[in-house]
Symmetry: C2
Subunit: 393 residues, 2 copies
């Protein structure tokens, strides 16, 4: 029997029976940690599921409990925002394999004599579709038959795509943002370097780092630093940092610094990105989730033709890319849109002009905000939602 514990609006749902994964193994129990905002309408037809990216979590619109920082999409989700919590019931859950409360490598491994032992690298390999299956269990648990919308960027967009192909009857509208229907060779390559950096750290201890009380902080930090470069455009890095150096005039005038000293502001920024990340993220989760991204390939799942994945789809799509995103470039969104067109799907496509790179979807981009608001408003009119507006409880 499923249980349910609530503390404010972040919550964990426990599914004793678990679920069977794409790898063939059965994972049980399964916990899904999630946050909700707004009120579910009596007709249960105003739910929007937001899917988070690789290093995101369920704290989409509230202060993060570990970092104390604002939710990762507070500019987009809230009362009166583009994703308006006065009108919609918004759900965001930590992905399976994650480390913020959903079942993942840090969760206790069942059937071990030492009940405190976590899964670690014994955690079964996941796919994006497995993450979506976990979300679908949660949605059912909340009594929702069909989501009004599924929205997400980057790996969140991959989840949106898996929702539309795995549970097409359970989604009214879908917004895959800054994403792709498959992970490219370059993306796999960057992920693999991240994994090598983590596993090269002797504190990794073949994934059993909990035994020592230490974490592979340096390897995970290097992985995060590299990934962070891929989230920004060259233009954004140049505008933010250029070739500015840290203020140490004497040292700089002579160039006679230590070989290992910090010099450029961009270096200091990246080191900070790395060191703050390792305090909130689990290395084995990073390995598990990057693998899941690498396996993403809608075409391979449909005999090489991923328009077949969308055949007869009833879903309204809005595909969004950003002009300076080189990690998930517009060309990949165009492939997706062409496949949707071949499937005669209802799809609009917007490339947002931005020089902020992949991370633009997380940042203040008025054109993007207007696009999200417009798509949701239009879809809601079309759906004739039972509740037009109500205020948050």
């Amino acid at each position: 029997m499923d249980t349910f514990s609530t503390s404010h609006n972040h919550t964990t749902a426990l599914f004793h029976d678990g679920l069977t994964l794409d790898c063939g193994r059965h994972l049980a129990p399964v916990e899904i940690a999630y946050c909700t905002y707004g009120v579910l309408s009596p007709a249960r037809d105003n739910a929007i599921l937001i899917c988070h990216a690789l290093t995101g979590d369920q704290y989409v619109a509230q202060t993060h409990p570990l970092t104390g920082r604002a939710g990762w999409w507070e500019g987009m989700v809230g009362p009166g925002r583009a994703i308006d919590t006065n009108r919609f019931f918004v759900i965001c859950s930590n992905v399976l394999g994650g480390c913020m409360g959903s079942t993942g490598p840090r969760s206790p491994k069942p059937s071990t004599e030492n009940v405190a032992e976590p899964w670690g690298t014994d955690f079964p390999p996941l796919t994006i579709r497995d993450m979506v299956r976990g979300q679908e269990m949660l949605i059912r648990h909340l009594g929702i038959t069909r989501l009004f919308a599924v929205i997400g960027g980057s790996m969140g967009g991959m989840q949106v795509l898996e929702w539309t192909t795995t549970f097409p009857e359970k989604v009214f509208a879908a917004m895959p943002i800054a994403t792709a229907p498959f992970h490219s060779a370059q993306n796999i390559a960057f992920n693999e370097v991240s994994r090598q950096a983590i596993t090269a750290d002797p504190e990794f201890h073949n994934g059993r780092y909990w035994e020592t009380g230490a974490i592979p902080a340096r390897g995970l930090g290097v992985a995060r630093m590299m990934a962070h470069i891929t989230y920004l455009s060259e233009e954004a890095l140049t505008r933010k940092f250029g070739r500015r150096t840290r203020p140490d005039p004497q040292r700089l005038a002579s160039k006679d610094t230590s070989l290992l000293g910090e010099i450029f502001e961009v270096e200091s920024y990246l080191r900070h990105q790395g060191s703050s990340f390792v305090r909130r993220f689990d290395a084995n989760s990073y390995l598990t989730i990057t693998r899941a991204m690498d396996w993403m390939d809608l075409a391979a799942d449909h005999d090489g033709d991923f328009s077949a994945a969308f055949a007869g789809t009833p879903i309204r799509f809005c595909v969004v890319s950003f002009s300076s995103d080189w990690l998930f470039p517009t060309s990949q969104s165009r492939l997706l849109v062409r496949a949707l067109n071949r499937a005669a799907a209802n799809v609009s496509f917007v490339e947002i002009e931005s020089d902020k790179g992949h991370d633009a979807f997380l940042l203040d981009e008025p054109d993007f905000e207007r696009t999200v608001r417009g798509f949701i408003t239009g879809a809601a009119e079309h759906a004739q939602l039972s509740v037009a507006s109500h205020t948050e409880g």
Copy 2:
């Protein structure tokens, strides 16, 4: 007094008096290891200096003594090649700070009681101009007053630019390829991640890894893997590897692999790139040379206006970029060309259409080969070289 030892055509020149570096410190003695091809004309006017990239060396057109692989530019340099050793005296030297015989972090540190102790991270910080100063000493040593041409790609192109601004009277023609007049924030960022990967390796031992007999192989391997991605275009990675997996049908069908196992061919390729690199390259050299690249900024050296660096230059320039190079994109070559135009320099500019990324300059690209051949032939006619042609000895 300078000494000179020869074994075939790879040689080391020793300069007891050394040189004063940009950082203000004096480095002595200085050794420069180099290879030559062809014969210096009696008028000493047919010398071409080839400058190598970050991980290159002097073995430009002969088998590498450590790897047994062909020289890194054998397709371009040799009898009858675009850089024709029947006609030109070709010189290629290992950069200062390198690890193939020129003075660098692996060289003995003077004035230490233990004469076997290498410089390590005590090696003074170098600039690209320091590398060029070392080459200029070598050229004088060889009795050459003026080089017919200086040619190089990537960091080699940075050296070409420093040659033209530091010793303009000593260069007749210059060909900076796939390079930039400054290192961008993105380039610095990637280099910094490389350095962090190296120094995070516990085998690095704060740079004193020679004491243990081990090397920071995993960190250096991660650094190389990441850098290698930046040398290739997304198109090249997709064409070479796509999403092809290693042939293990059973494992792949179930997706039930180890979390750490290899899956995609691109991963296997990158791991090989990393592991083969660490057998031939020194980690402290990598730190030293990447720092030198980061400091490259012709504009900063000339009060923010790098056209001033070329004022009144007598040199004939040919600037080359590659359309799919995102590490040193065409936009940066255009900045260089505009500065040369403002300085009323004799400059031609060619963007080669290629989908091979930054590494295109090392690969078989017929348009590029024709460009090099054409520029050299034209410049040689203009220079009225004393020796039109002779065969190799």
